[in-house]
Each structure stands twice: as structure tokens, then as C-alpha cells.
Amino acid sequence: MKKVTVFLLLISINLISLKLVSAQSKAEVLIRNATVLTAAKGTLENADILIKDGKIARIGKNLKASSNARTIDATGKFVTPGIIDCHSHTMMDAVNEFSYSVTSMTRIRDVLNPTDIAIYRALAGGVTAANLLHGSANAIGGQNSTVKFKYGKPIEDFVIPDAPPGIKFALGENPKRTNFNPTPGATPRYPRTRMGVMEVIRDAFVRAREYKKSWDDFRAKKTTVQPRRDLELEPLVEVLEGKRLVHAHGYRSDEHLNLMLLADEFGFKVATLQHALEAYKIAPEIAKRGTGASIFADSWSYKLEAYDSIPYNGYLLWKAGVVVSINSDSNERMRRLNVDAAKMMKYGGVPEEEALKMITLNAAKQLGIDRRTGSIEVGKDADIVIWNAHPFSVYSHAEMTMIEGEVYFDRQQDISKRAELARERETLEKMDINRPPGSGGTPPAIPKEKRQSHLDDADSDKDGGNRR
């Protein structure tokens, strides 16, 4: 049996971390006698799920597994698909490239950091996959990375290989830098108005169209000198060709509508409107185009341009036929997206399964990964969460989170490893190298972790290059 070391880190004020060695394999797993919320085909009582080679092999009652299968008794427990967060900046050593208004040449994949503790905390909240986006400081930001949270694995294992590539756009206050002061004396970055933001995007696509033509001409042998490869325009050509998903940050629906009209003009579809807290105003226009909406469950009127947001936004969008997902945009909120989904039942009465889809299958659809994940269906990846209670209860917590049949969070193992970690800490602290220097004063404590801003990302300025 292949042994896999999984580094688990405990969620606690003390930031005690755990190192857990758990025997795992891609062999069979049988989850027995659970209440299964499939997020596709209703709720199954007393159901079994058989996992083989990381995939869901069978769903039913009284399933038989081979003798070396791991059997998990889930009697009285609830099973859901792994939660998918359609807007996150976790495990990124940089978020915004502030310099230009168009930074489509940047790639989130370059700055992913698989050691971020927030990954483990997200797993403990049942999250198995996320859309990792560039920040919103730029009209056109960088290329996204769609990942599964395979904590403890090398970074290349995180990236979902067949996920369609995406790119971040941003509208409104953040790209026009409304709430951010420029460097003293520096020329403010263009654009400074909402119309300027639209101009920047239009200009970029005009340039991308010309760039595409230069390559088309070259390939058709109309020209002889190979054009320069332009990493800024290449991803925008992919957008024009329908090969790259646009995830557009914005709050005001007039701006989101404007972007969709611009996309109509250039012949592409916007994949998701991100945040979109007043998108109920343009629900039919969104639905007509097959564009998705990825929203916060609340945060109504939390900033000026979100003034017209209402609790019923998600419900109204859903009712109009829009594929809606609920995202976190926050390492902290990411851990309790199940409760955010429950709010959709409260405000307007979205049915339970539809509410669950908003943090699972719908996000998978928006990211183009629904063929492999997002619901509990035969043939899909075994990205599964076992909860102690109904996940829409505030008293519920994830007991076990698995990705492709491998366990990445196990509450019981986490608890049982805490004493061992405390002993390790004690040993390490006694080493000379870890002892404080004997003399000198007491420098002020410097917080180990940068405080995470709650919601919105335009001011995130993590810089991995300068750490350590």
C-alpha cells in the first residue's frame, strides 16, 4: 500500500500544526449508510457510495466492496459533493500586478504556493476545489488557475489539467482606483472613470483582434516574417476564440451589462459575473446569454457601488434561470460556504438542492469542470465531504474531506495528532537554534500572518518574492 504523507495543520489560535501520516491509496473506499445530498439527483437515504480509482463507481444500497477496501460507516451522517469556491485568492504569493490596467500576461499558476495553511482550513470546511483569481485592481487582470486542494502534494498536482483556462476582468471602483491613493507625486494610473475602464477593455480587444489577424495572415502565408509573440494579447485572442473564460468582477449592473454588450460585439460570452450583488436588475439579460453569476450570500451595501444589493439577489437570479454560485473571496469565509448556501433558502426560498448546487455543481459548471466534479454521480471524481449533521445547519462540521477518493482532512486524525505536535514543539523550542537571544530588549511583536482583508481584493499586495 502506498503511503502518502499529508501535512495537516490544525485550526486553532495557537496555530499548532499537525503532521499526519495516513495510509491512503487509490484503492477502493466504501462509504456506508449515509444521507447523500447528491446535488444532482436529489437526496438518498441510507445510501452507500463505492469509490474506485478515485472515481465514484457505484451509488446504491448494500453495496459490496472488495476485501481490501476501506469502509467508512457514515450512519447518521450527511454526505455532499466537495464544495467549489468560484472566487478565491488563497495559496497565492501575489494577487495584483498593479502597474498596468491590462495585465493579462500574468498567470496565477506561477505564484501558487501549496504550503498555505488556508488550504487546510478550507478542507476542514469541506472545500475541495477553487477558482484562483488575480485581484481586481486592473480592468483586465491575470490568467486564473482552477485547482483542487490536494494539500501536501506537489503544486503540479493541484492544477486541474482539463479545466478550461480563465481570466479576471474587473469593473468599477477597484480598477479605477477610487479607494486607493496613488504614490505621492505619481501620475494616477489610467483609467480613473467607469467609462475609462470600458475603453481600456475595448482597446485591448481591438489590439487582440489585430494581433490575431497578424498571426492568421502569417499562417496563411500572406506574410513572411513571423509576428512577435505577445503574452498580453495571446490570452485575449483565446477569449475571442471562446477558449478562455472571462470572470468579471463588478458590482453595478449597468457596468456588467455594458461588458456583456461589449462581449456580444466582439463575439464571445462572459463566463461569470463575479460579486454581481445587484445583478437581479439584469437577470433576464444574464440568463439569455448563458452567463453565470457568482455572488456573496450577503454583504449587502458593504461599499458604495454595492448600494443596491439585496438579500433576494441570489433567489431572483436563480428564478430567472441564471446559473448562480456563491463564492467566498476570503480565506475565512471559504471555511463556511455551506452556511452561506443555506442563506439562499432563507431569502426567497431557493429549494435545498438548488441552494447546495450554488456551492458545488453550479460553480463546477461556471468553471467548466462539471463533467468531473460538483455532484455525487457515478463516473465523477470522488470529491466528497462527510458531515456530522446537515451541512445547512450552523452546528454541522466536516468530519472528512476527500478528493479523488483520498482523504485530505480527517477530524479524528487531526484531534489525535495534537498531542504529538505539542511534543514536537516542545522539543524544537528547547533546541539552541530556537532559543531567544539572551540579551537585548524586547522588540515589538510582528504579526506572523498578514491580516486578510474581508471581501474584495483590490488592495491585496502579497509579494512572495520578497518574503523570507
Binding site: D110, T183, R189, L231, E429, I433, N434, S439, P444, A445
Partner: protein, 555 residues
Amino acid sequence: MKNFILRFYIAIFASFSLGLSINAQTRTETFAITNARIVTVSGAAIEKGAVVVRNGLIEAVGANAKIPADARTIDGTGLTIYPGFIDANTSLGLAAAPAAPQRPVGQVGGGQLAAQTSQPQSNSNYPDGLQPEEYAAGKLKAGEAQFETNRNAGFTTVLTVSRDGVFNGQSAVINLAGDTVSQMIIRAPFAEHFSFTTLRNGQYPTSLLGTFSALRQMLLDAQRLQTLRQVYDKNPRGIKRPETDKSLDALLPILNREMPIVFNANTEIEIVRALDLAREFNLNAIISGGQEAWKVAGRLKAQNVPVLLSLNFPKRTAAASPEADAESLEVLRLRAEVPKTAAKLAQAGVKFAFQSGGMTSINDFLTNANKAVENGLSKDAAIRAMTLSAAEILGVGNRLGTIETGKIANLTVSRGDVFSKDKTITHVFVDGKLFEQKEKPKTTTPATGGTQPAATATVGGTYSITINIPGQPLEGTLSLTQQGEILSGSLQTQLGTTPIKDGKVTAEGFNFTTTVELGGSTFNLDVSGRVTGNQISGTMTTPQGAVAFSGTKTP
């Protein structure tokens, strides 16, 4: 003669000021060190033999080496001769980065490239920090007196390159002796050096994201330039002339694998990123730093990437504070693991050389090499990491790194095993030139074995300061904690609280660097000042210019 007197004066002055006793005479005649233990590195150690040095080269070595009649003989009884030690990454001999251009506030360029190059210091098409053509050998200061501390610690050869910018420029391998730069250089350029960092001043790249995309675009542009040039050179008629671009030109040897690229990378993920880039562009990569290299030893071995391993081990510098959170387990583990890295790399078959990694005192080099030995590295491997392996990685293995006939006469001679605490470096030969170090009388040897600390000012305390930015003075609190020459603490203003870095206390005052975050960008501040009574004053140099600050100590 004048020159000699000047050198004499410099040497005397240096030895006086450093509290060291160095024989002022340097000789290039013929030497024979006899009756010594010889660690040849190329083969087994010779327990008792001689090394003959003539005309800058090793003329003979062995138990029965013939001693020429004209040689000055040094009785090596009780001494051990090693190949001269190599420090595989330093910035020795290079002037500190020039101060940021003094620009009045209000005239700083915006984010666009045109504005970035509005005040060119170079005629490159790229801003400062993205100029791979920066040539360390072209910036070396002449004169060997500047290397005295390093020679005294046993070093004869170093790689040197700037640490500034995304591209640090092309490094040089130099000997730590010679009156002219030409005499010092062994190999230049050796490699291009690259840091996963950003530009300052709000210039692209302002983030690690942009650093990758800027590098990628430059490499692609260089590739294209090369292709266009080939077409043009065959028949220029009817084709627009490819532009000359010295920055892109400097990338061609890297792309063509004629020159390695050294990535400064310490953490596991930084090393992985470097290896991924090397694979993407088929580069001949070297890792510098490599503190967590053991975690990716398999990939380093598979991609045949050597490591210039830093011996600047992480230390706990913060004193205990009852209010501080406990240190994270990751930090505690890192400090315990880093000294084991060398042994793990050796075990995995990854080639590595030691480097000083910007350590405060070069004497920590051998101390920490010994810690690597205590953590499982064989002594032979440790010696090799500062001699032959280093020479091989730096492309000078045919000339340096072993004691063999015909190689450059770089030798380090010690009394006592070089890893023992009571060792003394007695003689250092560089290019056959003897630098003799009189053994210090035992009675006056300081307990630390290091240099006598110079008198330092007393600057610790908390100060209320005013930073005199024209038109908008900024109030703040400067907390300074002094431990000998080392300064730590923080600067607090309405822009936030930032720790101070590289803090030093000198006889006159103090200096440190810190950062401020403004408008979403991070700016570096170089701060220097002095304390008189309870008054503090000094200068903060920002990319926008220098501003004065002053204040008083809070009781």
C-alpha cells in the same frame, strides 16, 4: 615603489583597524611548504608532504616532492594545506547600489514603461533591474586590501554579483588578490543571476506575478530577435533591420545554454518555480540559496541542477516577549532542518557548493560548515563543497579546487582541523601570492574567536519622530533594539508598522532599511541616522528622494 608604500600603508591601516595582525609583505616568489598534511581533494590526503608553488601555479605536490633550491621553505609541521576555499556567491568587490536618483516629489513617472525609462541610467530599452547585461566584472573595485577579512577566513576565490534587481546581472569568478581587476578575474561572465523579486517605484513588475510574465516576454523576444537576425544576416535586402537590444542580447547565451542562469531561491516553492522555468525554456539552471533544497532533491537530481547552498542559517533574532505569539511550528522546524540540508543533498546525489549567503560575519562560514558536518555531512564532502565542487559548478574545475600540479596556486593553510573551534588560518596563497597571518597569542584571543568589535554607538530606545516630507510632515514612532552592532525594531507611522531590516550600529550612528506601503505598492526606505543624548536625527532615502527626520526619545 610608491605603489608598494601605498599598499603597505593600506595593509597596516587595515590590520590596525580590524585588530588583526597580518604580515604586510606579500610575495610571489617560489615557496615550498614542507612536512604538512595535504588535503588534495583530487585524491587521498597526504599525511606528510610538501607543496611547491612557483610563478602562481602549483609546481609539485606529494610526500616526496622535490624542493627547489631557490624556494622559500615554510615548515608545515602541524599544518594542513587545503585547496583555497571558494565562496560560491558573494557581492565582494562591488560598490553598494548607487543611491536612488534624487527626483523632486511630483515628478515621479507613472506605471508606463516610457515613463520608467524617462531618466535612463543606461541606454537599455528596459528599466533598471530588468537589465541582464549588467556586468559584475565591469563594476569591480580594484585593490586586494578590500578582501582581507575574507582571505583571513581562508577564502581565495569567490563568485561575485550584485543582489539588486530582478536580473542581478552577469557574475564573475574572481581571486581575492591582485592589484588590478584584470588580475583578479578568473572567469567573467560566468552566469546570469535572477531574483524572484519586483521593481520598485510602482514600475512593472510590481508583483511576483509580473516578474514571471516580464521574464517570459523578454526570453521570447530574445528568441525572436535571434531568429530575425539569422534571416536578416543571410540576405538583408527587403527586410526591416532587426533592432539592436543589448538587454535581449544578454539573454541569448542563456537561451542557447552557453551560460547558466542562477536562480536565487531558498524555499521549496521558489526552487520548484525555478526548475519549472528552466524546463519551460530549456535553461541550464543553478539554484543559489537552497535552504529547503532537500525537499526537492529528487527533481534537482533529475534535472541535473546544482545548488550554491547558503551557510547563512536562519537564527532566532527576536528576544522572548511575553506578549508575542509563540513562533509557528514551521519556523521552529525550518531552523532545525536547514543545517541538515547539505547532508541530504549529498545523499541524494545533488551537486552543491557552499556560499556565505550574505552572512554578517564570514567566520560563520566554517562554523556553519561544521554544523552541516555535525548534521550528517562527511568532512570530505564539506571540504569538497568549498573547493572542487564549487570550482566545477563555477566552471573553473580545471584550474581550481584541488592541489594538483599545474593548477592555480590557491591554498589555505590552517593549524588544526579546519572545522575545529581552535583552528587558525595561518597562510593563504592566492595566485601563488602569500598572505601570512601571524598566529594570535592565545592569551588575547577573544572568547568568540572573531574580530574585536569596534566601538559602537548606543542608540536603543523608542523615539517619537517627525519625517519632514515637504508639505506633509509625517509623525511616527521608531523603536530601536540594539544588540551590539545589530539593530532590530520597527517603524510605525500612519502608513502602518514595518520591521526594520539589515540594521547596523556603527561608531557614528546607525543605519537600516525598511519598507512603506503606499497606494498598494511597497517602497524601500534606506535610513541612516545618529543619536545625541535623547535626540535622534537622520535621513530616509526613498525612490523619490531623501527626506530628513528628527525626534526625541520617549522615556
